[in-house]
């Protein structure tokens, strides 16, 4: 979008350079247009102007190209830098007509208007250029009325409305249920029965941990008749380390987590995994969400009691550093503003559900966010140094451009994954790097000295040409020096490019040179406007702390977002939680709470949850507990024709919606039921082993794809190279902010499940698991496979079909003279069928 604007403006800029003439002729001397003339203008002329001219010639006259606007009568009559553009009644003397005929200026610059349109405009000028427009429409429209804008529901503070009184039927168990029931009753909808226990346990185990329940867990729950059976399960699941791995991934989707720069030159982020682990740990520890916000935005500016805490805070700021980076951009300023744009985008959408980045080039088209708000935020991030390990125009990444942890050699580093030999090699390299750096520093100083002396001599020469030159360095000529420096730099690049074991590095941010940002008209660096004081969105009520000239303002920004007075933060987050548990948010447009977003289906409930969230110390686990313990969550997903007829989209929760498992859940569940899942967290990331330069096919990628049975959240997420199974099942694109994933059903998924060697292998493992226990008859083994894979027993009909299949299949193998363990091959084929079944990939 921006590209195109910039491109077209470049043409425009070269076209309008005529000198400004003093005054326009008085416009009031003409008679008002007749009705026919007005109609003619509206029907024929205005559309031509809107379509072909407004892009450059509308709005604020000071900002318009050639200081000429034609979106008002006044502007059109007044003309611009080159004076009046129309002489009513005399098209031949009107520069506008000349310009559109390309006889002088060439307008519009992109392409000449068609002859038809040129004729139309000529005729109109001939008519006297009747123009019925009144007032300064454009300016008035563009100005944002903040007082009016604040009335929008999302900018109003959450409001507590007591839950509706109990209804005639005693369905509701919790306050949440009362809101839901009240709205549902009003629609005349009935309600689905409660889900059966094994369905409920499978649902809640997947929803909270991303894994299926074991048969033992199912039995235990089904047989637990106590009142708090479910509460016990919920507590167990929330306390499991698997919880953070599941819910951490939700957050990683939102913050466009990826382990490389992406874009046209894809360079690894070798330490992005630290931020990933931080997110998982924060969720497992139930770190209060307001603190979670502040740490991610400004962890580096927080006080810390211990080194470990200090490190954790630094790692948290990876939030601002792991976005895509266009390292091909050579211009440092341009690169910086691209990074800033990413930071503004992720901050505003992830926490506030607002698309602030739309205001980079112009006032937001739909939301009350003026372009000056964008540059107020840009100033905060401009005062922030981003340590992502890459630089503009750089061929390779350098660890030197990263932050360092305080604790070294601690468990937070990943050195133990390397052999001693590798470490020794690394130590040698590090030593050489240090030596080279020292030499370079000395040589560069010499160069500077030499230049200085040369300059002085030059000056002297001008005055007293007789004085002979002094030898300036004993290291030979300037050329020699340059050569030495070049050689050392090349060597340095090579050394740094080698795959090094994990150091104590971390991606993150720190305060840099404190400065405001100028407003960049149309987002263009070359078109700098006034400096905008650092600040936040003016439309929101809650106050923003004063920034001292010595601070970037990031900490204040973080507190402003994490404030209970911010009307959006809590709402946006509880809505995300709701969506993960119900498939659709109370506000369906998860990442957009602005004017183009949806309104909440249950505003009182949304506000009640948001208020409770904040009152209970921003505990994420508490929100989840509140929701899953409601009766609403525990409904069955059973179809009802009558309710379906009234509310086909289930906006009013007459049943629980089914959910397709996410990519990570499918892979993890396959491994889990095969008994192959490794639940230990791997150290670091395979990305650590990549060389510090562009990721290309072949060896580097081969390492990334090495088979592993760890949980999917720990697989390397290199941009453009998301692991095959995850990509096939709609994992989030790591370059994009994804609040809600797509759910597709395509043949490539079917091909994967049927033919990929990973699936074949896991199916065989599962078959071995089912065949292993001694003393089971065929029927019991079929039961066991169903219980493992689907969490239930097969129906008699299913059982007989499977029985038939096993028979047929093994016979076919025998008939074909197949060698090997035919029983295992047969069962593997059946087990794969279960893993490929639709039911396996849905939670009901």
């Amino acid at each position: 979008m921006r590209t195109r604007i910039i491109a077209s403006l470049l043409f425009t800029a070269t076209c309008i350079t005529l000198p400004r003439i003093q005054a326009a002729p008085p416009a009031g001397s003409e008679k008002p247009p007749t009705r026919e003339e007005s109609e003619y203008f509206e029907k024929k002329i205005r559309p031509i102007l809107v379509k072909n001219c407004y892009e450059c010639h509308s709005g604020d006259v000071q900002k318009a190209k050639g200081h000429f606007v034609l979106d008002t009568r006044e502007g059109l009559r007044a003309g611009g830098d080159s004076g009046p553009v129309i002489v009513p009644g005399q098209p031949d003397d009107s520069p506008l007509i000349e310009a559109i005929k390309y006889e002088g200026l060439e307008m519009p610059p992109k392409e000449k208007l068609s002859d038809e349109l040129i004729q139309e405009l000529t005729r109109w000028v001939e008519m006297g250029a009747p123009d019925p427009r009144v007032g300064k429409a454009a300016q008035v429209k563009n100005k944002i009325d903040l007082a009016e804008a604040r009335k929008f529901w999302a900018f109003q503070p959450p409001h507590r409305s007591p839950p509706p009184a109990s209804q005639a039927t005693v369905w509701a168990r919790t306050d949440l249920d009362r809101y839901i029931q009240s709205a549902r009753d009003k629609k005349g909808l009935a309600v689905a029965p409660d889900a059966d226990r094994q369905t409920l346990l499978r649902r809640i185990t997947f929803d909270l941990t991303g894994l299926p329940p074991t048969p033992e867990e199912v039995d235990q729950f089904v047989n637990d008749t106590s009142d708090n059976a479910l509460a016990t399960v919920v507590d167990r699941l929330l306390a499991s380390p698997r919880f953070g791995e599941k819910w951490g991934r939700h957050w990683l989707d939102v913050v466009r987590f990826g382990e490389s720069t992406g874009k046209e030159r894809n360079i690894p982020f070798r330490y992005a995994w630290r931020y990933r682990n931080y997110v998982i740990d924060a969720l497992n520890a139930d770190l209060p969400f307001d603190q979670f916000i502040v740490e991610q935005l400004a962890g580096d500016l927080l006080p810390a009691d211990t080194d470990a805490e200090r490190d954790r805070h630094l790692i948290a700021t990876g939030f601002l550093a792991v976005g895509t980076k266009g390292v091909n951009i050579k211009d440092g300023d341009q690169f910086r503003y691209e990074v800033i744009d990413d930071q503004i985008d992720v901050t505003s959408r992830a926490f506030l559900g607002l698309t602030v980045a739309c205001a980079r080039c112009h006032d937001h088209k739909f939301d009350p966010i003026p372009i000056s708000d964008y540059y107020a935020l840009a100033g905060i991030f401009r005062s922030t140094d981003t340590h992502s390990g890459v630089k503009p125009g750089a061929k390779s990444a350098t660890d030197r451009a990263l932050l360092k942890l305080v604790q070294t050699g601690s468990t937070t580093t990943a050195t133990s994954r390397k052999t001693t030999k590798e470490l020794a090699g690394h130590a040698e390299r590090q030593k050489e790097i240090e030596e080279i750096n020292a030499k370079l520093t000395a040589l560069r100083q010499q160069q500077r000295d030499m230049r200085k002396v040369a300059r002085q001599q030059n000056n002297k020469k001008k005055k007293k040409p007789q004085v002979p030159a002094q030898p300036v360095a004993d290291n030979g000529s300037a050329n020699d020096l340059r050569k030495q420096v070049k050689e050392l730099e090349d060597r340095l690049e090579k050394l740094e490019g080698a795959a090094t074991p994990a150091g104590d590095f971390v991606m993150g941010v720190s305060d840099g040179k404190i400065q405001n940002s100028p407003l960049l008209n149309r987002g263009e660096l070359k078109d700098k406007g006034e400096e905008v004081p650092r600040g936040v969105l003016t439309v929101l009520h809650n106050s923003f702390g004063k920034i001292t000239p010595k601070q970037s303002g990031r900490l204040e920004l973080a507190h402003w977002i994490a404030s209970p007075d911010n009307p959006l933060t809590a709402r946006v987050f509880v809505n995300r939680v709701w969506q993960h548990l119900f498939g659709e948010g109370l506000v369906a447009s998860i990442d957009n709470f602005g004017a183009l977003g949806e309104e909440p289906t249950h505003p009182e409930l949304l506000d009640a949850l948001a208020l409770q969230f904040m009152n209970e110390g921003w505990s994420v686990k508490n929100v989840i507990r509140t929701i899953v313990l409601s009766r609403t969550y525990q409904m069955s997903s059973q179809h009802s024709a009558a309710d379906f007829a009234i509310d086909p989209e289930n906006h009013y929760y007459w049943r629980k919606e089914r959910r397709r498992l996410e990519a990570e859940e499918i892979r993890d569940a396959v491994l889990a039921v095969a008994g192959a899942l490794e639940t230990d967290r791997p150290e670091g990331s395979p990305v650590l082993d990549l060389p510090n330069n562009q990721i290309k096919g072949g060896k580097g990628l081969g390492d990334l794809r090495k088979a592993t049975n760890v949980r999917s959240v720990y697989l390397p997420i290199v941009r453009g190279n998301v692991p095959e199974m995850l990509a096939v099942f709609d994992a989030a694109d790591p370059s994009l902010i994804i609040g809600k994933r797509d759910v597709t059903t395509v043949p490539t998924q079917a091909l994967y499940l049927l033919n990929n060697s990973f699936m074949m292998k896991q199916a065989e493992q599962l078959a071995q698991r089912v065949l292993k226990p001694s003393g089971l008859n065929l029927e019991a083994r079929i039961d066991l496979s169903y219980r493992l894979v689907l969490g239930r027993l097969p129906s008699p009909h299913e059982k007989s079909e499977v029985f038939q299949f096993l028979n047929d299949y093994q016979q076919s193998l025998e008939a074909a003279g197949t060698k090997g363990n035919l029983q295992l091959a047969t069962w593997a084929s059946f087990c794969q069928t279960l893993l490929a079944s639709g039911e396996f990939r849905y939670v009901y």
Partner: protein
Amino acid sequence: MFPNRLGDLFSRREMLKSASCGFGFLALADMLTRAATAADSGNNLLAPKAPHFTPKAKRVIFMFMAGAPSHVDTFDYKPQLAIDDGKEGGGRGKGRKLMKSPFQFSQHGQSGLWFPETLPNLARHADELCLLNGMHTDLPAHGNATLMMHTGNFRFVRPSMGAWTLYGLGTDNTELPGFITLNGERGSAQNYASAFLPAAYQATSIQGTERNKSAVANIENPKLSESLQRRQLDLLASLNRERLEKDVVNPGLEGVIESYELAFKMEGALPQIMDISGETEATQKAYGIGIKGTANFGRQCLLARRFAEAGVRFIEIGVGGWDQHRDLKAKLTTNCHSIDKPIAALLTDLKERGLLQDTLLVWGGEFGRTPGAQNKDGRDHNATGFSMWMAGGGVKGGLRYGATDEHGVSAVEKRMHINDLHATMLHLLGIDHERLTYQYGGRAIRLTDLGGVVAKDILA
């Protein structure tokens, strides 16, 4: 995104039941429920959709020449460049000297279009080609410009033009993917991805140079014979149907059932289409298959024809190595040789089969090269002016549209930006580029961004 739940509105299952039609009815049902089940069922997403107006072309074969071919040595004949050879000028900074083309040009066909001596076979199709000599793009950097060419944008992650096409039109073939690239190794995956569009619209990457079945990921089972897999699929279908009975309405599960059937069809159809042994020797020879230097692109061109014939909507093929910073004469000769026969054969073949009239061929690189010399015998990157060409479905043949200046530095007449190119391609496919939009991040986004003007003069 369409809400998932809308899918339940018109469950195909219920529809089928009430209409008691067979599977032939599915296509219609798909069209009716397209919006409804978009998010939930990939198959529906790919169902054929009506264009905005009557299309001239039904499918696209895009021939991408990575590295940026020199336009003044191929399709933009510049006599003045020869006259001014050695004089200062030629774009991108001072001190460059103009370098005449090392190749002889001559006129061909009724139209008299100019061709270099390096493209003798293609020159015979002069009257089919519509040369676009006024092309320009935003940046002279390979990665950025390649993204620009494929997605219309290099700053933001945007869907590939093939994905947009599929989103707009769906696909006619139910046994094959609708967007295929045989050119998967060229540039980042983002060039072929669906970005925010549903994943069903992304390209299926096929290794064009391999003859065996493994050219598509997971297309063949490493262990099971076809009959054993069929038996497995029968059990699977039966279990899935039983579950569907229980669910009563579950479009997602219906999609799953269909996806297995399509996958099974693809297992059969794709290797068959990739197996060119059934083509006559004469045909293979015409494409340059089996001859070093032309075999690679020849095979891609032949496969493109086979995919086009089978109803695949968007096919990308390509050959790289056009980045001649030095030694231009020898290297460009090799490049031209590698595509000359194959493309000529493709044009002939499509024409003979009556496919050329509704297949749009588009040829070009990410930008052009400077008329000024670099490293004495090479040319540098040039984004301000370059050439592409179109042929087939709905474009005027034998036309030279747009022009660069006298030496070929910048486009000056009938300038055509990448957005304009995309707008024109969509127009030929029957799509109004301003109406083909997708809501993302609070905006209705389109392939042509905020630009795009259809080059009406080239429409047949």
